[in-house]
Symmetry: C2
Subunit: 217 residues, 2 copies
DNA sequence: TCATAAAGTGAGTGAAAACTCACTCACTAA
DNA sequence: TTAGTGAGTGAGTTTTCACTCACTTTATGA
């Protein structure tokens, strides 16, 4: 059971691949990402970004017409390539494995996503801010995200239902009940509450979900 | 089963009671809260606040030395009186009711808190922003919040354990698994995913939690 | 090798927003 | 009646910060 690929890895990949970014432009995007995560978009100045990236402020504006475009430049590859790709990888390696029990399915999925979430706190924070305070970005991001996830998770859950391995409750609620637990772990970390080992959390959560979502008969 | 008291009601109460705020100062705090919720702290100008409160910009600075202090003035009564009081009310009216089954307990708690969360989206947004991007406020707020909740929930869960109505897993995990579901519903709403009636969500969640947290034997 | 373009620079600019302060005025208490 | 008080005012000041542009450096290809 390997660690899931970190978002930053996908991020660097996406940058290398499809766009002709210079080294400095990449540094600018990476600095933006890390500063937005740390202080929030509005509390980050373009001077901060330039300094952290080790470039002049003018360089930031060579490619990105304004600050907002920096956020877009981070969110866009995310929406267009990273999210679908992650969903796909996740689908192949975790969701669509052949399973004989709900517990097996849950163990695959929960363990993987919990490590994923805990290993990507800062990027997730930026996405959360974008969703909360940049409605123009929300629509796209949420739409694509929901679609990606639905296309991977939906069939898997439907299949579990066919095999009578999971209770007959609507897919969106199955999904919500599972994902809620990732949010719970996320907030535990953000809030700085007493930490608990991820694998330990996974054990308790899988256990509760297994019994909670199993068919009643 | 009444709607839980809205946060804004507690907020107005707290303002009336304990501090010697003039009418205008109250208007300033109320305007701040609603603008911060709508646009975020950083995207709200003191001119906006003054206009919405119907006062001169200078009036804002009469009591609050700077913009940050406005946020503190909102969070502070929250931490000192609103949160403890909410926890207390919630404890009396929902948590510490005599119950014979886990399902009864969960129905009381989940239904109440789900309505609470869904009825207070905008205030919760402000708190979330404060926690995510104002570390100096986080420590206090989270500490007090955690303590309030622990003091109410802890004994109740311990009691359920004594009566063998709930599985023997650590209190913090019981708590996390339950609260996760409120976060899930919160995000469903924030993201603008296809809505689902709150009471319907409650039914599914209570069902899953009941079976998930019941003792195995 | 050099012309031309592309990338990078950083001091400078202006607008917006935070914050100040000399003043007003309703109210109170002597 | 009046002196005193302090909340409230809003024009004015200062600061911050996104953004510009004339210039320098680096890369390219003829």
């Amino acid at each position: 059971m390997n660690e899931p690929t970190a978002i930053s890895t996908y991020f660097k990949e996406a940058m290398t691949e499809n766009r002709n970014l210079t080294e400095k432009q990449k540094q600018i995007l990476e600095a933006s990402l890390s500063l937005f995560a740390e202080k929030g978009f509005a509390n980050t100045t373009t001077a901060d970004i330039a300094e952290k990236a080790g470039v002049a402020e003018g360089t930031v504006y060579k490619r990105y017409a304004n600050k907002q475009e920096l956020l877009v430049a981070i969110i866009e590859p995310f929406r267009d390539s990273i999210l679908p790709r992650m969903a796909n990888d996740f689908g192949k390696t975790r969701v669509n494995l052949p399973v004989n029990t709900l517990r097996e399915f849950l163990t695959n999925v929960v363990s993987d996503r919990m490590h994923f979430v805990m290993g990507n706190l800062s990027v997730i924070k930026v996405m959360m801010e974008a969703i909360l305070y940049h409605p123009e970005l929300r629509i796209n991001l949420v739409g694509t995200g929901a679609k990606s996830i639905e296309s991977i998770f939906g069939p898997a859950i439907t299949q579990l239902k066919a095999k009578h391995l999971i209770a007959d409750i609507p897919n969106d609620m199955v999904f919500q009940i599972i994902v809620s637990n990732f949010l719970g772990a996320l907030y535990r970390a953000f809030l700085g509450l007493p930490a608990r080992d991820v694998d330990e959390q996974v054990t308790y959560i899988v256990d509760a979900l297994d019994r909670g979502l199993r068919p009643s008969i």
